[in-house]
Amino acid sequence: MKLITAPNLPDHDGFLAELLAAHRGLSDAESQALNARLILILANHVGDRETLTEALDLARGR
């Protein structure tokens, strides 16, 4: 496994609040668009194909 599944994010509570705040007041379509952009931005930042496949698998519950 290359994907980090142990806690790794400082101020995780702060991040979740920031994420939700970013969605506040958006329509469903706008929220979906924001999420899509965020996934693309983060995927590029991660920059590792294997890690991304593992992340996809985890998200799909495999």
Binding site: Q32, A33, A36, R37, L40, I41
Partner: protein
């Protein structure tokens, strides 16, 4: 001036008045692929008969974008000067979302400089040039208005039935090369499946003639206001003719949409009122191929073997890659220099290439016409990000333009040498002295010795060169010297930083056996 479709010459073939001697090679289809095939074989000393049903060159521009690799083949076939005299070279592609350009990119850096990465010329001009060259070639017997109607293969050859304006006749050949296009009759007569996908999306393609000073670039729009919700493309061709492609959406009625009163307003919205409409066609995306390209003595090439959406210059260019892959192999088999099994490597390598083309064109198709829902969501958000960030531009897929496939091979390699020129890849072009490297390779296999001497006792022509900066980047990388074994189709067969003659001989043998 609209293109003048002159009738092609016909004369009664000898087979009408008595049996013809058995031919080594019959090519069916004188499109770009069949014509280039006959010329490549002639260059290697192999005679062929070419059967072609039609009586003029192809109607409409059809394939217009010729890649650097195809221009290199045209150079070997002796027609590149005529092609470049008419063609429109280009390297810049611009992408717009809505009415605003979001970015552009220049592919000039991918070419070595002898030829541009791409040159545009209508397929009818290319066919004209190829036909003139073939008619002047004594080893080619080109027969227009000769329609293949029957194919009867056995283990050692093929019996053919042909129809002409003066009646039918029969031919026999050692090999039949089926270059008879997307609706290949050879494929149908042999009952072979054409596997893959059809897309429901319809596209309108039009040639217009106008006096305009659009730059020689490829322009692509996602969702422009002049064609809302769809995509559009504009590219220049020779003689003030421009190509326009307009996405029409799923299940548009092809017959209706091709009517001038429907087409002209759509084009006016792109370029304004001053143009003449020369040709219109409606097409659907298809990604299909034969399971196998070699069926005993019948071998398929070009659209007869594989069919891709035309957005990425993969159709005709892919067919020309088939030609150069097969030519030297078939010539060697016919002359007894190689076993027939060498032809299996044509099948293996070109199926790999077709699969890459099919995969890439399916990806382009889903980006250009995303399914409603999540496909559309991500497509639109990639475009939104591409305006500001470089990384998102890499995802924008308005048809990735064709690059030659790198054939899978386990041939000798050295990791010090650059990836670009690894075994299985197209040998990169480089300037040497006042000429060009690839001009000095062939027609047979060649050993390229850079900054070193070739090992003694090898029965193969050697080209010894000193590395200058481009040769160094493209062929040496971190090494001081290298030996490259280059196939007749200008594909790298194997390479070493240092090698003994035994290793090189083994690689030469593997090449002639078509080993993976």
């Amino acid at each position: 001036m609209p293109y003048d479709y002159k009738p092609l010459p016909y004369s009664a073939p000898p087979g009408l008045s008595g049996p013809e001697p058995r031919h080594r090679v019959v090519v069916v289809g004188a499109g770009p692929v069949g014509l280039a095939m006959a010329l490549d074989l002639a260059r290697l000393g192999i005679a062929s008969v070419v059967l072609e049903d039609k009586s003029s060159v192809t109607i409409g521009s059809r394939a217009i974008v010729w890649s650097e690799r195809s221009l290199q083949l045209f150079a070997r076939l002796g027609i590149v000067d005529q092609v470049m005299a008419r063609a429109v070279p280009w390297s810049i592609a611009r992408i717009s979302h809505g009415d605003e350009e979001i970015f552009s990119f220049d592919m000039a850096g991918t070419a070595a400089g002898r030829f541009p990465p791409f040159a545009n010329l209508q397929q009818y001009h290319i066919e004209d040039i190829l036909i003139a060259r073939a008619l002047a070639e004594p080893l080619i017997d080109l027969r227009f208005r000769n329609r293949l109607t029957g194919v009867d293969p056995d283990g050692t050859g093929v019996e053919l039935s042909v129809k002409t304006p003066d009646g039918p006749y029969r031919l026999s050949a050692d090999y039949l090369l089926a270059c008879d296009g997307a609706r290949s009759l050879t494929r149908a007569l042999m009952d072979l499946d054409f596997e893959g996908e059809f897309y429901e999306e319809r596209f309108l393609v039009a040639d217009i003639e106008m006096e305009a000073d659009f730059p020689a670039e490829r322009w692509f729009w996602f969702d422009p206001s002049f064609h809302s919700g769809q995509s559009a493309m504009l590219m220049p061709q020779a003689d003030n003719v421009y190509r326009i492609d307009l996405q029409l959406g799923r299940l548009a009625n092809a017959g209706e949409e091709a009517r001038p009163d429907r087409v002209i307003p759509r084009i006016q919205a792109v370029v304004g009122p001053d143009f003449d409409l020369e040709w219109v066609s409606i097409y659907t995306f298809q990604s299909r191929r034969l399971a196998e390209f070699v069926h005993g003595r019948v071998i398929f090439l070009g659209d007869a073997a594989h069919l891709v959406p035309p957005f990425s210059a993969r159709g005709a260019n892919g067919g020309l890659r088939d030609v150069e892959n097969l030519g030297w192999k078939l010539a060697a088999v016919l002359e007894g220099r190689a076993d027939e099994r060498l032809l299996d490597s044509y099948n293996r390598e070109r199926v790999q290439a077709a699969d890459e083309n099919l995969r890439d064109s399916a990806r382009a198709a889903s980006f250009i016409s995303p399914a409603p829902g999540v496909e559309r969501l991500f497509r639109d958000q990639v475009l939104a990000l591409a305006r500001e960030t470089a990384f998102a531009r890499e995802w924008v897929n308005a048809g990735r333009l064709a690059v030659p496939c790198i054939y899978a091979t386990g041939a000798p390699d050295d990791l010090l040498l650059p990836d670009e020129a690894r075994p299985g890849a197209a040998a990169p072009e480089a300037r040497i002295g006042n000429g060009w490297l690839l001009d000095q390779i062939g027609p047979g296999p060649t050993l390229l010795a850079i900054n070193c001497a070739a090992p003694d006792g090898l029965q193969i022509p050697t080209l010894s060169v000193r590395a200058d900066p481009t040769l160094r980047t493209r062929y040496l990388g971190d090494a001081e010297r290298a030996l490259y074994l280059i196939r007749p189709d200008l594909v790298v067969a194997a390479r070493w930083v240092t090698a003994e003659s035994r290793a090189v001989s083994a690689a030469i043998r593997a090449m002639w056996e078509g080993r993976e």
